[in-house]
Symmetry: C2
Subunit: 397 residues, 2 copies
Amino acid sequence: MRLPKEIIVPGFRAAGTHCGIKRSGAPDLALVVSDRPCVSAAVFTRNKVAAAPVVWGKALRTRSRLRGIVVNSGNANACTGAAGIEAVRRTSRAAGEALGLPADSLLIGSTGVIGVPLPVEKIVAALPGLAARLSPKGIPGAGEAIRTTDAFAKRGIRTVRAGGRAITIGAIAKGAGMIAPNMGTMLAYAFTDAALTPADARLLLREAADASFNRIVVDGDTSTNDTAALFANGACGLSPLRGKDLDAFRKALTSLLLDLALMIVRDGEGATRVVRLSVTGARSDADAAKAARAAASSPLVKTAVYGADLNWGRVIAALGRAGIAVDPMKISMRFAGETLLRRGMRPDPAAQRRAAPKIRKEAYAIDVDLGLGNGSDHVYFSDLTEKYVRINSGYRS
Amino acid sequence: MRLPKEIIVPGFRAAGTHCGIKRSGAPDLALVVSDRPCVSAAVFTRNKVAAAPVVWGKALRTRSRLRGIVVNSGNANACTGAAGIEAVRRTSRAAGEALGLPADSLLIGSTGVIGVPLPVEKIVAALPGLAARLSPKGIPGAGEAIRTTDAFAKRGIRTVRAGGRAITIGAIAKGAGMIAPNMGTMLAYAFTDAALTPADARLLLREAADASFNRIVVDGDTSTNDTAALFANGACGLSPLRGKDLDAFRKALTSLLLDLALMIVRDGEGATRVVRLSVTGARSDADAAKAARAAASSPLVKTAVYGADLNWGRVIAALGRAGIAVDPMKISMRFAGETLLRRGMRPDPAAQRRAAPKIRKEAYAIDVDLGLGNGSDHVYFSDLTEKYVRINSGYRS
């Protein structure tokens, strides 16, 4: 796993600190600020119970020219009622004052336990000191401060050539499981000195999120706080990217966010393996997506992956309840490239023997062909282990 | 838990034996036969990948006057293609010969591992001996022979007064998790000497199954083999039950099947607790059902129950992704009778303290009021433990 030590994006400064939310004393407040207004875009959780910062962020999104983010970890500010919204408002105002900017210049994020009031006074008290420590080298430190149960920090960087210049995209993320981090969240923030039109920023972020964060399954639960955002400050001095340059940027952004998404699923709480599950031959792409997600979130499939069990029967059983057209006698399936099932016919014992050692690796592929049409989709999922249960049954007690 | 030692239903004889499917030498073949033709009804899994005996049983169902069941454990005969159907046909023919009855007189069932050919010759070889050992006291022994990973056998009995006589309903079941037994199945068979019309048999079984087996959630996976069936042989000598008598029978059957369903969920693989989760105040009953099932199958809710964590936030997060109308500021929630959330307002610390010891018990209730309408529903679910993972990751390796 490539984890760059330095992430410097021209025009952005950042810092992280411990403001007092986490009892452990670990960093729990992050600030990333651009020296000029950004074109920005954000996508949020589809969970109907949205945390206060998500409610706030969705309203903000329509205003342009944000400067960056302030994010706390250790408390999700979710299910906190009117007080939760007021806490976001106070954070936003205090961040503006500390930076000499108008209120509402920053996107606010929170991650951590649900249903506990956010100790916003600790954030407000810490912001001036944090603002004073902002540094161009501070992005990894900000990334550290947004971790909750993450076993490791997640960050990445890409460089793109455009108009004869080098454009940088840096990103930080947290989450030990999108679609169900135990403490409530997947967060990802990307920063670039590219210039983008607002429409391109929205489109590229949505595309990249769909190809990355929307394809990872840890346990099928979606969080109240999930957020991915992109900030483009144009510090590279070029006019908004177009044509080939925009395309190169799009590819770099997607590759960067996919890297971060795979880090999240690899850090899936207690996970030991990551499987890329592809479904082809579905009646439609939507059917393929349903099938892939049903199999990837099945506890029986996930425990079989943990146990290095070539249990294609559990995959088939999950497909059967996915609510899509399935004919067992048309299904073919490969584990780690070995065909275990061909049009419903039972496995070749030799293929089973060949596949057995391959599915003990940290990452492999399961490829399902439904044999019914041209629809396809794929997801990445982690296994379900005793450690997942320990993490999620014990963290508050 | 009441587990009656004797289950004698007039006119039914039964036996169980080891025919050689299970390597452990445990009983793996059950036979229950009525001395006269029965009015019967059956409900089957909705999984589109149905095992061979389910495909067969659905076709049989339209013919009337079955005599009973023959069920093997240790192999689900699922995903076994044309050979699987042929194995059911051979079992049916061999059972008929052993009993001196026409082929197709019995409902066939299988439970166990998916995707492995059924060693039908072992069943065929064992049937004559098993038929010779049929006994009125054999129903519990038949119940033992349908177990797979069940930690304990499941059976029950009820007596109903009708027309001045005592009518008996006896039932056996297996499953350590409906909606996802690791070895593929929930099976339940009820036998009565009542006389029922075919229409009443169908209606009563469907009602009772809906109030029992369709309300238990272990891990959200549905099996390829799930079956519940009712056999009424009329040996009590009364004409088909009507009016008050039928109503008394209906209540007894529902109560019996609910007992068995709760035994299954209590035996949910690795489970330590059972929670009755009710949802009221939904826009519709269908919304309430979706909400209850989303929360009951959430790994995060289930691990919190295991950890005796009063984590209503995870319940809310699950409600938010259930695909129904939800307003967090209208939700009220009780754990073990203590109100932790009232119309979205945060918990009273004293209620939390009172609830804490109550949710360490083996069974308690979580009551959710969505505050939006009159729709309601409820389910029973087990917690998610390290033992669940061990059972499901290791059983074939």
